[in-house]
């Protein structure tokens, strides 16, 4: 199994297009960092205008921790889309290339193949998240330095002390990995139905975008379904920047995401086990 996983990773990481995602993450992070060096203070003044009427803030508000948070917030939609590039390609891309039929003539079960693709997708997602941590967090800290971090929610202003932040980022990245696992399983699930990678990639992207919009719209009708949408729970990483950290809610979100992941995986294996490979 390990050898098969290694082979799968070899296939993923030998493809030039795999690195587009890493390039995009770095480009977005660097762009935001650059924009923050020139216009960050105005951006902050705009965001804090409500609270600045009542309090004065001094010190290094625009620091690496805050910039990293802004980058993560901006990349909220993009990272799942980049994950879909690999997940959506997992089975459909092989079907399109014509290699799927050759792979399936080997003595491995289809469930094994799906699980290997899933594990490889998770490792790819983890690599992307680690890369995100490097460019968003560590490079922001390098450019802007460390400091206390302000976090503005819609109804709460939170200040986190400098020495009380790094662990939150580690847990947030860990949670993001759980969330991305759901995207991996969703995109592989859609990939099982298609003979061409474009379809599942676009469908994954569409599902994530539409559900994210539903998760963020403050309308009574949507409020009923929100708790059941995985996109509502994907932003659970933000919980680690709350005070106190809502561990119960985060745990619940992780459980919902995990359930979705397992659900998609079971559906994929069930469907793929019965699928006639005609490509």
């Amino acid at each position: 199994m390990i050898k098969l996983l290694y082979i799968e990773l070899y296939k993923i990481f030998r493809r030039p297009r795999t690195y587009i995602s890493f390039g995009m993450v770095a480009a977005i992070a660097l762009l935001i960092q650059f924009a923050m060096t020139s216009g960050g203070k105005d951006f902050l003044a705009f965001g804090m205008q409500g609270i600045s009427e009542q309090f004065t803030f001094e010190g290094k508000i625009l620091n690496g921790y805050l910039v990293a948070y802004i980058i993560l917030q901006s990349l909220l939609i993009h990272i799942p889309l980049l994950i879909a590039l690999v997940g959506g390609d997992a089975l459909a891309g092989e079907a399109n290339m014509g290699t799927l039929r050759l792979v399936l003539t080997r003595p491995i079960s289809r469930a094994q193949l799906v699980l290997i693709k899933f594990c490889a997708g998770i490792i790819y997602a983890l690599a992307l998240i680690i890369w995100l941590a490097v460019v968003a967090l560590f490079m922001s800290l390098l450019f802007f330095g460390a400091g206390d971090m302000i976090n503005m929610k819609s109804d709460t202003f939170i200040l986190l002390l400098k020495d009380d932040i790094m662990w939150r980022y580690f847990l947030a990245f860990g949670f993001a990995a759980v969330a991305m696992t759901t995207i991996v399983s969703l995109s592989i699930f859609l990939s099982a139905f298609a003979e061409n990678a474009i379809g599942p990639i676009m469908t994954t992207m569409a599902i994530v975008v539409v559900l994210t919009i539903l998760s963020n719209l403050e309308l009574p009708l949507f409020n009923l379904v929100k708790p059941y949408l995985f996109t509502t729970h994907m932003i659970g990483w933000k919980g680690f920047f709350d005070d106190p950290v809502p561990y119960k809610a985060i745990g619940r979100s992780a459980l919902v995401l995990f359930s979705y992941t397992v659900g998609f995986l079971v559906l994929t294996i069930t469907y793929f086990n019965k699928k006639d490979i005609k490509s």
């Binding site: 050898k3 098969l4 290694y6 082979i7 070899y10 296939k11 030998r14 493809r15 030039p16 290339m97 014509g98 290699t99 039929r101 050759l102 792979v103 399936l104 003539t105 080997r106 003595p107 491995i108 079960s109 289809r110 086990n273 019965k274 006639d276 490979i277 005609k278």
Partner: protein, 302 residues
């Protein structure tokens, strides 16, 4: 003889289209088994069922006496396959592709074996080139190398000469014959090129509209009396009248001043040629057509 592959009662229907109906056959060790049929006859569906890509509605498949189904794919350890187009990971080298499929074979395959199969298929020296730089013929050979990498006892080759030029077809034919004779592989070969199958196969199964219409030894199927012989001549206006008395005239199916077509045993060709020369007819060419093709066309002609 030891049965390598036994198919029994295999059927498959796609929606309303009956692709394969109630197919039985057995392939024994050492045979080169030709699967013949027109496009759409069900050859590919049958081969995909044999390889577990398409699930039969009913019927059983046994490799080496062991039943093969979704939950038991282990018999595929001893099977290598090429399925239609030689599709591979084009962005990787030939050697990388070999490594990938070697790993998928669930066997410890040393690198030495990889170079060995590359040598067998004639790709030595090109193994580090990216597959996207390969010609179609090279890709087919790499496909064969992939099928051979785990040293399988049975090779299932579905249209291995698809899209190849005449030289490539000839090379592939030689390669398959060598695998059969020297490497002692049992081979199931599917092709719509009857001439190729006739030259390679020891046994054949003819499919038509999803049904088996003939199975047996190629030698038995080909009737030596049924060669279609075409004789090209320089124009000889009174040809029909002059050959009417010849003993072989009864076998003539078509005659013009420049061409005679007859169905006859190959052994009679020299006598006919002598007869015509003696008559003063100037023969420019004699072509004995494959009788398997003739037989096939007769069988499948609705």
């Amino acid at each position: 003889m030891e049965p390598i592959l036994q198919a029994s009662g295999l059927s498959k229907t796609f929606k309303t289209h009956k692709a394969v109906q109630d197919i039985d056959f057995t392939i024994e060790r050492g045979q080169v088994y030709g699967l013949l049929g027109q496009n759409g006859a069900g050859k590919s569906t049958l081969i995909r069922m044999l390889l577990g890509l398409i699930f039969p509605d009913c019927g059983t498949i046994r490799y080496f006496g062991e039943e093969f189904h979704t939950r038991n794919r282990q018999p595929l350890r001893h099977v290598g396959a090429i399925i239609e187009r030689p599709d591979m990971y084009n962005y990787l080298s030939g050697l990388d592709n070999l490594k990938i499929f070697a790993a998928l074979s669930r066997q410890a395959i040393p690198i030495k074996r990889m170079y060995e199969v590359l040598e067998i298929v004639g790709l030595s020296g090109r193994e580090k080139d990216k597959v996207k730089a390969y010609s179609l013929g090279m890709k087919q050979r790499l496909g064969l190398a992939i099928a051979l990498i785990h040293n399988p006892e049975l090779l299932i080759l579905d249209e291995p000469t698809n899209g190849m030029d005449p030289q490539g077809i000839s090379d592939m034919r030689e390669l398959i014959l060598r695998l059969s004779r020297e490497e002692k592989k049992t081979i199931l070969l599917s092709s719509h090129l009857l001439h190729e199958v006739e030259q390679i196969a020891t046994h054949t199964l003819i499919l038509h509209k999803g049904r088996k219409i003939k199975e047996g030894c190629v030698k038995d199927i080909i009737n030596p009396d049924e060669n279609i012989v075409e004789i090209d001549l320089l124009p000889y206006p009174a040809l029909v009248d002059d050959i009417r008395q010849a003993p072989w005239f009864g076998h003539v199916t078509h005659c013009t001043p420049t061409k005679i077509t007859l169905t006859i045993h190959k052994d009679h060709i020299p006598d006919i040629n002598n007869h015509l020369v003696a008559m003063g007819v100037r023969v420019t060419g004699i072509n004995a057509k494959n009788s398997l093709e003739h037989y096939f066309l007769n069988l499948t002609n609705d």
